[in-house]
Symmetry: C2
Subunit: 413 residues, 2 copies
């Protein structure tokens, strides 16, 4: 893998976040930097929210002499395992855990974000001014931030807050299965910032401190373009393009397809959770495989319609129907995902889904119910609920205004 060209500098990669999925992605990234040391510095920094942990007796690293709790970062760096969030999975030795956000991102040209939704803004605020101004990001955070006013992709929120370009990674990926190196696929979306043809062509900067600017066309949810100024990556680095990103994320057990469509990849990951609720209810009713496939089909169509309507020309509808982040993630989520399971149980037990959520998820929250409410508010404000009959039916059922038995007649076209 030495074909990416002769550049003076290598990319330094940092992973911001170290939960279940964060650690699984950090493992992949560190395996790939080690295998491609012509492009990447081998060592990968991973930011860990520091906490005290105890190594369980079942672990091969359990030491009876060690009686006091230890720092999670120290454990990860000593035994190369995230005993708290990804137990039992050996991590590469070149993956280094750090409790300091600032240390983690220092000199890094590629930042991989993998945090719970509620920490994104706060973490980005802390990172302001600490990152290289020409760094590039990839957000592995599923979902989007929908309000009455509009839809914000998390990759956009990160990019805007930090003043960098940020793409997205999403797919049919259950973290533990990926960590165990069971084969899966994913989608990386990255629409590389380009030189603005209307501005005087800037020279590629020969050193990192220079501030030649590029402009790139940034899409908002109205389908309009706006221009955002970004700093060019110095020319001594290999350009961050689809080939470099494939090299960074692709493994023999984790197949990557890189596309341009950040919006499609991101909104798929949010909307499929609404569909999974409907599929779970229908399955819970005992209506059989035909009916479940029918709601999934209608859901997929509404995902496509939503993308076309609110991201206009910037979206590629094939993202929904042909990429892992689209149809494949929808299928996985409607097979055994938590939204599907809780919805199914709520019908079988004749319990509100909120109660199932409490009893089954140990305090974690269902994404589907949140997304459904947000998307419905947005659609209602636009006055187009009727164009999305399945999404609307899901929200009405959650609000207790409709019953699951009414789904077929409601979505009939």
């Amino acid at each position: 893998m030495g074909s990416l060209g002769p550049y003076q500098r290598k990319h330094k990669v940092a992973v911001v976040g170290s939960g279940n999925w964060g650690t699984a992605i950090a493992k992949i990234v560190a395996e790939n930097t080690a295998a491609n040391s012509d492009v990447f510095q081998e060592k990968v920094e991973m930011w860990v929210f520091e906490e005290d942990v105890e190594i369980p007796k079942t672990s091969q690293h359990y030491d009876p002499a060690q009686t006091s709790p230890q720092k999670l970062t120290e454990v990860i760096n000593r035994i190369h395992e995230n005993v708290k969030y990804l137990p039992g999975i050996p991590l590469p030795a070149n993956l280094h855990a750090s409790p300091s956000l600032e240390e983690t991102v220092k000199d890094s040209t590629i930042l991989v974000f993998n945090l719970p939704h509620q920490f994104i803004i706060k973490t980005c605020e802390q990172l302001k001014g600490k990152i290289l101004p020409y760094a590039r990001g990839i957000s592995c955070i599923k979902g989007v931030d929908v309000s009455e006013e509009g839809i914000n992709l998390f990759s956009e929120t990160i990019g805007k807050t930090l003043g960098i370009y940020c793409g997205a990674l999403s797919g049919a990926n259950i973290a533990n299965e990926v960590a165990q190196e069971k084969w899966s696929e994913t989608s990386v979306a990255y629409d590389a910032p380009t030189l603005d043809s209307k501005a005087p062509t800037p020279q590629r900067s020969p050193n990192a401190s220079q501030t030649d600017l590029v402009q790139f066309e940034h899409k908002d949810t109205s389908g309009q373009f706006s221009r955002v100024k970004l700093q060019a990556l110095p020319s001594e680095y290999p350009p961050v393009d689809h080939a470099v990103l494939k090299t960074l994320f692709h493994r023999h057990y984790f197949h990557v397809r890189v596309v341009n469509d950040v919006a499609g990849v991101s909104i798929s990951g949010a909307l499929k959770n609404i569909v999974a609720l409907a599929a779970g209810w229908v399955d819970g009713m005992g209506w059989g495989d035909n009916a479940k496939a029918a709601v999934m089909r209608v859901g997929l169509m509404e995902m496509v319609r939503f993308g076309e309507k609110f991201f206009g020309a910037t979206i590629d509808t094939r993202t929904f129907t042909e990429e892992s982040a689209g149809v494949a993630d929808l299928i996985t989520s409607c097979s055994g995902g938590r939204n599907f399971r809780c919805a199914k149980l709520s019908v079988e037990r004749n319990q509100p889904i909120g109660e199932v959520e409490k009893s089954e998820l140990n305090g974690q929250k269902l994404q589907g119910t949140l997304t459904s409410a947000e998307v419905n508010k947005f659609l209602k404000k636009q006055g187009i609920e009727d164009q999305f009959p399945l999404f609307t039916a899901v929200n009405r059922i959650l609000e207790g205004k409709m019953s699951v038995a009414d789904i077929p007649s409601h979505i009939e076209r």
Copy 2:
């Protein structure tokens, strides 16, 4: 439902075939002719391959005084139940079973075909000259006939043999679930023959015996058009169009979408069985939901590619990704269909799939293995096996030349 216009004559509908799926469709059709007597004659004839049957003791129609076997047609017409092929399902009283092909189709303007593959040609040969020359057909027979030379849709085979136009019906439809009126969806494909603009505009025939001709553009597998002469439907009948077909097939539990794309609807129904084999193997390996969704995604892409390649401009790729006959039927088939189940068992038992087929299917044959071999022969002749890595992998595994464990690396792009 009296809005289809004032025509002097009503359509007479016949169903050719009375197996499990044939009887379920005949039930729907008869329910709809009864409910729409402005467009259709109420009575629907169904051709039944005559045989002797005994009514089981568990049936409410069991009569201990009746000791000798009875004719299936007589039983159906007396107790309104197909005790042999769709037991336990009440059939409408206006559905009449006939042992005579000729009597069944006499004066019928709409012929619904629902036969096992191996009887299509023979039955159509027997029907030659017995049908109205301006009748129209709908084939509910899943699959296509692929050979080294090309791909024939069953609807085309029927149409050519009888000299009529024939559309297709296919979807995520498990016959017993449809018969029980569990909600499902289906796709009806019908590209209505049109007047040839290059020929002198024919007058609509005022009576049935007149032979004004229309020409319509018939598609062969090379994507070329050829012209076929067809007889125009006399103008005293409502035209057979999407509205009439929806009225004939749509029920509150059986949602119909009518499209033009006969080829897409037909080849989806064949190719999805190849994908279901791969999904079954992967599931049998215990690789998890991510992996299963990945082969389904790749399979759906190859279905689209196959359609684009061999049916060119005449196919609408949205049939695969948005219609019940496409993605929904794929999902159902990869959930619990027989190709999926037998493939899964073959991995779990470490048995060739042919042995599983024998032990599990009571003498019935898997469609997926047949279709895989046929499609592979065709792709090989065209020299493009490598453009369809999943289809090719499935065939190699069936031939014992590749192992299931090699699927991920084989389909890696």
